[in-house]
């Protein structure tokens, strides 16, 4: 079975068809993108707190630079970090090995989707270096702003002049990325349905696999109209059609609808995979079965369908029909219920458990706490349409979505990294530096995002390069809040280097894992050697149990691997 021979570096990083290698390629590419996005965040945060300062490593930030920085920070973090890390990386690493098979259903298609992803990254980076500068129209890319050149009003001379603009390149990059993720999603879906190990019924699959699949399918159905819409926007930019041009019968609001028709389900696409990791990690570390497996699953499916009916809550004051806004407000408030159920089920899982406060567990608990207490609850303010009139497009919204996305994407990914690192490298991450990294991230994330709530309530609108011209935003505590946020953000970004160094150092020189199943986990990926060979298993496992049979009363051990009779 394990007939594949060892390949060299070149082969492994460019031509390998193994799902783990492709996952690793995705991961490195995303690390590159995140460092760019993080650097942008550092520059504009510094500029906001100290407007006159030449930001080290960048220089003076002009309005144009500022718009470009915030736009690309948002795009990179939402599209490449969040979607890429949680669908592509997690799906590639985990799905085949967790369902007990050797590889994806279509390994070549998997490789092709990585190449598309790489092309999208190259296009995105190329867009920074266009003659007219980077894309500065906000990450939501609302036309007519994103059709023109953000207000220079220098006329385009030729088709090439229009084509080699940041607008075109960013849209192409996003299109390529969507195609890549669509192909990846189809691959995950088919792999999960067709290549499960013997005995691995649908309800014996670990939550992670379920969640990534639901997210992929949800992504597929929500992104369609936006792909059509992006195609139309490309034509608007390059050919001069008028789909979003009000003077031609087009409608700028149409793009907002198409964007958020994708954009809101995307929030759940991003949220679901971390919820899957959390289920696995929490159940494993509290040595108890996951509470209400089917219940969580049903709620997730309900939430996934509901999530397609709530998109216009991003547009309450954007000029949509106010009566429609009422309906969307009701659905928005309702969608909090299934997630409350899921979080309560997780709490019921740790309730009366013998918790092991390992590093992944710390990240998982941090994620649940921050996501529920602040991210989730502040959603109620914005879902209530009346308060959204005031809070829309203020820093309150910025704080809210950082509190929903950071705990899920970043904390969730870190939980997964610290949990599965042992498996895929056969080494252990340094625990001391892991703890330092966790506490620094936890404290300074709050230090960065919480002041934004207060700034937003004081009326500070988003995306303003220089707040000094607004007297009401320079009243006393507000500049201080901005400085606290900035300093915390800088420390937050710096503390991520601890992880990067820890990651690569441990991979090369870390301690070898003591056993093949260091977390005493049930799921299939821990029942093979670490790191798993090409092909994952020596002999294909046969599954007899669900994934969360911890502390089964009939057994001696406190865990019961899925492939143990």
């Amino acid at each position: 079975m394990n007939t594949h021979k060892k390949h060299g570096f070149w082969h492994r990083f460019f031509f390998s068809l193994d799902h783990k290698d492709i996952g690793f390629q995705y991961m490195l590419t995303i690390f590159l993108m995140v460092s760019i996005g993080g650097f942008f965040a550092y520059v504009f945060r510094m500029h906001l707190a100290y407007p006159d300062m030449k930001v080290p490593l960048f220089g003076l930030v002009t309005n144009k630079d500022y718009n470009m920085l915030i736009t690309n920070h948002g795009l990179i973090m939402m599209m490449w970090l969040a979607l890429g890390m949680l669908l592509a990386v997690a799906g590639n690493f985990l799905i085949p090995i967790m369902i007990g098979t050797d590889d994806m259903a279509f390994p070549k298609l998997n490789k092709i989707s990585y190449w598309f992803f790489l092309i999208s990254v190259i296009l995105m980076i190329a867009s920074f270096f266009m003659k007219r500068g980077g894309f500065g129209g906000g990450w939501t890319m609302y036309p007519p702003l994103s059709v023109g050149d953000f207000g220079y009003n220098t006329p385009y001379k030729s088709f090439a002049d229009r084509f080699f603009t940041a607008n075109t390149f960013v849209l192409l990059a996003i299109t390529f990325e969507f195609i890549s993720l669509l192909m990846g999603g189809i691959n995950f879906f088919v792999t999960t349905l067709n290549k499960r190990a013997k005995g691995m019924t649908l309800t014996r699959m670990p939550m992670t696999v379920w969640m990534i699949n639901i997210a992929s399918v949800l992504f597929m159905f929500s992104v369609g109209p936006l792909i059509a819409g992006a195609f139309m926007l490309l034509l608007d930019i390059n050919v001069g059609t008028g789909f979003y041009d009000a003077y031609r019968g087009g409608d700028p609001l149409l793009w907002e609808h198409l964007f958020w028709f994708f954009g809101h389900p995307e929030v759940y696409v991003i949220l679901l995979p971390p919820l899957g990791f959390l289920a696995d990690i929490i159940s494993n570390n509290s040595r108890k079965p996951l509470y209400g497996y089917r219940f969580i699953l049903n709620l997730t499916l309900i939430a996934a369908i509901l999530s397609m009916m709530v998109w216009a809550h991003h547009q309450f004051v954007s000029g949509i029909d106010p009566r429609a806004a009422t309906i969307f407000s009701i659905f928005t408030i309702i969608i909090s219920l299934p997630f409350a159920g899921i979080i309560l089920a997780y709490i019921a899982t740790i309730w009366k458990g013998n918790l092991r406060l390992s590093l992944p567990m710390k990240w998982a608990l941090g994620s649940v706490t921050l996501f529920t207490l602040i991210g989730g609850f502040t959603g109620l303010y914005l879902g209530a349409a009346v308060f959204d009139i005031y809070a829309h497009n203020t820093s309150f919204v910025v704080a809210h979505f950082h509190y929903t996305l950071f705990p899920t994407v970043i904390f969730g990914s870190y939980a997964a990294f610290y949990y599965w690192f042992n498996k895929f490298t056969g080494k252990e991450l340094n625990k001391f530096w892991g703890n330092v990294h966790f506490w620094l991230t936890f404290i300074f994330f709050n230090g960065f995002a919480f002041p934004l709530f207060l700034l937003g309530l004081a009326g500070q609108q988003r995306r303003i390069a220089d707040y000094r011209q607004f007297e009401f935003l320079m009243q006393d505590p507000l500049p201080l809040y901005r400085k606290i946020a900035t300093i915390s953000a800088v420390i937050l970004i710096l503390s991520q280097f601890i992880f990067i160094i820890n990651f690569f150092w441990s991979m090369k020189k870390g301690k070898k894992v003591s056993s093949e199943n260091p977390w005493q986990s049930n799921t299939l990926e821990w029942q093979t050697s670490s790191p798993p060979p090409h092909g994952n298993f020596e002999t294909y496992p046969v599954v007899y149990h669900g994934p969360y049979e911890y502390n089964h009363p009939d057994r001696e051990k406190d865990f019961l691997p899925q492939n143990e009779k």
Binding site: G136, G151, V317, P322, I389, P553
Partner: protein
């Protein structure tokens, strides 16, 4: 230290009320959730039998507490909706009888305010314009036709708790009734190009007499 800017419109207090209502409820909810997460952490070293630990949560009997939690949240949610819906109708859907009608036009990157001319009607030749200075009479219902010339802008008057996007090709009519005289900021809340940060105007709320004077001044120009 105040959390919100000073309220100067008739419906600002409603919006603030919804904020404090939700804050009150979620403070209670947060305390409960914090307890639920901390309790297992504090009691993690207790000796427990396998039977105690092996709880899978199948069926209504096991899950009833979670259903109760969802039900309580649902009640709270619908209570918010019940309280905020009338305000939404009042602010966004209905238009009280107007005393004055103005056009607010967003351009890259300035605000252009149009007042009816001496004939008292908008959209006629004698309309008068002022740039970046909006004068409003106090305690009068003002209808605003919000429009945009080029890209999407958003009118944001923090003190009035008022915000509305201005879209090219659409005329969106909303209303405001200022209750305090003074100078208030009006800003743009939707990214509109490199000048977005500089796109600010002043709302000057005047008593009725001063407002008439101000209009007369505009007519003279």
């Amino acid at each position: 230290m105040r959390i919100f800017p000073e309220n100067a419109s008739s419906y600002g207090a409603n919006i603030d009320f919804i904020f404090w209502l939700i804050t009150g409820v979620i403070t209670v909810a947060s305390i409960i959730v914090i307890f639920l997460i901390l309790y297992p952490l504090l009691t993690k070293n207790k000796k427990r039998t396998k039977k105690e630990m092996y709880v899978k949560g199948i069926g209504f009997k096991d899950l009833k507490l979670i259903y109760l939690g969802i039900f309580i949240l649902a009640v709270a949610d619908f209570y918010f909706l019940y309280r905020e819906m009338p305000y939404w109708t009042k602010i966004e859907e209905s238009l009280p009888k107007k005393d004055l009608h103005v056009i607010i036009m967003g351009r890259q990157w300035l605000w252009e305010f149009t007042y009816p001319g001496p004939d008292g009607k908008l959209y006629t030749d004698d309309d008068v314009k002022s740039i970046n200075q909006l004068y409003l009479p106090v305690n009068k219902v003002v209808h605003m036709d919000i429009q945009s010339y080029d890209v999407i802008h958003a009118v944001f008057i923090p003190n009035a708790r008022f915000k509305q996007d201005a879209l090219p090709g659409r005329n969106i009519t909303r209303w405001v009734k200022m209750t305090k005289t003074g100078k208030f900021p009006l800003t743009c809340a939707e990214i509109c190009g490199i000048g977005h940060a500089n796109m600010k105007a002043t709302v000057t709320v005047l008593s009725e007499k001063d407002f008439e004077k101000q209009l007369a001044k505009l007519y003279k120009k």
